[in-house]
Amino acid sequence: MLRRTALAAASILAAGALLLSACSGGAEPGPTSSGAPDPDASVAIRLVLEPGNLDIRQTAGSALDQILVDNVYQGLVGRTPEQEIVPVLAEDWTVSPDGLTYTFTLREGVTFHDGQELTPQDVVWSLTTRKNTPEWRDSARLANVTTVTADGQVVTLELAEPDSSLLWNLTGRAGIILKEGDTVDYSTAANGTGPFRLDQWRQGDSITFSRNDDYWGDPAQVAEVVFDYIPDNQAALNAALAGEVDVLTGFDANLKEQVEANGDFALELGQSTDKGTLAFNQTSGPLADQRVRQAIRQAIDHDAFIQSGASGETLYGPIPSLDPGYEDLSDVAPYDPEAARALLDEAGVDDLELTLTIPNFYATTIPQILVSNLNDVGITLEVKSVDFSTWLNDVYINQDYDLSFVLHTEARDFENWANPDYYFTYDNPEVQDLYAQSLAATDEAEAAELLAEAARIVSEDAAGDWLYNGASVVAVGTNITGMPSINVNERLNLAELAKSNG
């Protein structure tokens, strides 16, 4: 019953959106405010996906990384929105020429939110425990680390073999520094070193951060940030127009004119590592045939997804442009229904019927385009819209699907194409070998080149299809500055956020 209600709700909302768009004017957004930042300001940010709980050690999901990493929890190193690796709790670091020893100099005068000082032992404990606790997220990312030791403020990581992804991994969950033996209830509270403290969580509604006045770096420019979880775009638009939120993330670029209508908001499109991934279960049946998979890829008009979302760019391989190893692979599977039909003939397949399993929170235009594109070349697509738990069970765990669509938001997640057990069901020793070589490379450029080579093979094998590389669509109040606009679904560093009264 719930699903039917949600469906009905969605269609009615769509009707409402049409009505609203008919009523709104098309004024240009006003100039960005030049007023001075208000240090006492509270900024309300609309987010889409609420985390189930706040346990950063064990609970999966980008909803946690998005708000907690950088703002509340920090690592030795962090990353800029442009994906550059920068020092955070470490003042600087060096890597030995053989790539086996990483030496970090820990910053002095860092305190946790509970007032305790950060010690080198906390760092040693955090990284070692992460590595040795399989139940903690990303523990496998530290697999190459053999020892973590501290001498004064110097923390040293010894590796069994070179790992070109280690620094990057330390900018994420794997590198978060917690207090040794902390007794905080991680599922509802937090104790980090970041510029914001976790103040209040009203489940099903909002999470509030307040400025950490004892922060070791430049203090945050706002007193408070409130994350309002509003899943529906139309409700979010209403909230923005009624002045209840200052920033909308995860917005629908099609609503650009409405949100900019009164001049209080400007829409920003930033790059992201969101990959709209169409997985093919290629273990058996027609999809085991590369020609059939290639035919499906060439039957799909990738530009249609960009147009329907009014944002993003096309993507023809597993690596998006923000990540190392990116290469334009549009030549591998250009839109060509004629070629697709020929490939299907060649493979001796006709009247193919396939099922697409897709979580129900994605825009309905995605399955619609796929159904019509595939229908054009004689493939009947049945759409199975399920909730995320069902998707996890059927597709991710049991690999019981033909085609599946999910937005993979993680940056640098090529490893899944090198893992034959992953739900992609893609098993190519050459790709696995190239990926291993890329990890073992001590030179960044070389590592990226190897990744690019592997990615081309994945694309040529038609191991999956990439419908689009999403954009970060953020509507920002014109009195707000310092709001990140790149990859905000994954990380939302609010250190620079400011609000003026003007």
């Binding site: 719930l2 209600t5 949600a6 009905a8 709700a9 009615i12 909302l13 009707a15 409402g16 009505l19 609203l20 009523c23 609420e50 189930g52 709980n53 064990q58 609970t59 999966a60 999901g61 399989p134 139940e135 209830d185 599922s187 509802t188 209040q200 009203r202 489940q203 099903g204 509604d205 909002s206 509030t208 409130v226 309002d228 979880y229 509003i230 899943p231 529906d232 139309q234 409700a235 209403n238 909230a239 127009l241 009624a242 002045g243 209840e244 909730d387 995320f388 738990s389 069902t390 998707w391 996890l392 069970n393 059927d394 991710y396 765990i397 999910v406 993979h408 993680e410 997640d413 899944n416």
Partner: protein
């Protein structure tokens, strides 16, 4: 009367027991579990299994049911697998939104449906009576979500009088703000439920007009309307009470939809997100409490009905 009450009470308890089994089993049909959600994508089967064990999801179903129902009988509704907070505390917190929303909706529904329903019956056959009756039919057919959208567009977006969504973080510490947040959602449910109620009131009134004791009243010299008010309206009241009992269930369903639309942190929205998260102890507890509430309202309505309607007692 005592025997009737006891029988009715036994039925209520049986209903609750059956409901608990149905709730428990129906949720087990859903694929997926909270352990998978916690582990998420990029997790290994071993990780998921470890979490499942920690949460007790690997136990056989009868054990899980007995665990749960045993807890309920001891007054423990269980707690969330995700956050560890108890069903009772979550329900208490969310009820601060949903209960006032329900009361306000019901009040709005009754306030406009009873006078207008009576009026449309009394004015039957004339222009205004027909207009009222057609209007009620049309309103009752309006989907709650659409009605809500329209109210938001007019009162929040265009006029800016009321908030479009959300509930103040201070909650009822700021009663004015809390009330303002509830007005549009309550109006939405109230109008749609009220329109249905209005049709009931209208037909009950029409029936009352034709009743012997109303006609007798009129024959004894009362005006037709005075006779209706004095002798007919108690009958109408009975119908309204019965229907109100049913409408409590309607309002709970309406709250599920409306709380989503207005992003109100109430029981309805909590229910939807807990189902999505497969946090089954939470969903079970929430559904059991809601079902119990509806059953108890039905029980009370039946008793009240019997007390105020002498005909039922004679029949027994």
């Amino acid at each position: 009367m005592i025997r009737y009450t006891l029988t009715r009470l036994a039925l209520l308890l049986l209903g609750l027991l059956v409901a608990s089994v149905l709730i428990f089993l129906s949720l087990r049909v859903l694929p997926g579990d909270v352990a998978q959600l916690i582990a998420g994508v990029n997790s290994t089967p071993a990780q998921i299994e470890a979490i499942r064990e920690r949460l007790g999801l690997d136990q056989p179903l009868p054990v899980q049911y007995l665990d749960w129902i045993g807890g309920v009988l001891r007054g423990d509704l269980g707690s969330s697998l995700l956050t560890g907070s108890t069903v009772a505390s979550e329900l208490a917190e969310k009820a601060e939104v949903t209960v006032p929303l329900g009361i306000l909706s019901l009040t709005i529904a009754v306030l406009f449906s009873v006078p207008l329903g009576v009026l449309s019956a009394v004015r039957r056959g004339r222009g205004d009576g027909t207009a009222l009756s057609v209007g009620a039919q049309a309103l009752a057919a309006v989907p709650v979500v659409w009605a809500g959208m329209m109210l938001v567009v007019v009162f929040a977006v265009w006029l800016g009088w009321l908030p479009a969504q959300g509930f103040p973080r201070a909650g009822w510490q700021d009663p004015a703000a809390a009330m303002r947040a509830l007005i549009l959602p309550a109006l939405t449910i109230g109008i749609v439920e009220g329109a249905m109620l209005m049709r009931i009131v209208r037909s009950a009134t029409l029936q009352a007009v034709g009743q012997d004791h109303v006609r007798t009243g009129a024959a004894k010299g009362l005006t037709r309307n005075a006779a209706l008010v004095r002798h007919g309206l108690p009958d109408v009241g009975l119908s309204v009470i019965t229907v109100l009992g049913l409408q409590v269930a309607g309002i709970i369903v309406g709250a599920v939809v409306i709380e989503q639309l207005f992003t109100l942190p109430g029981i309805g929205r909590m229910l939807v997100s807990d189902v999505g998260a497969r946090d089954l102890p939470m969903v079970q507890g929430e559904l059991l409490v809601l079902t119990g509430f509806v059953l108890i309202v039905g029980f009370v309505v039946d008793l009240v009905h019997r007390v105020i309607d002498p005909r039922q007692r004679e029949a027994a």
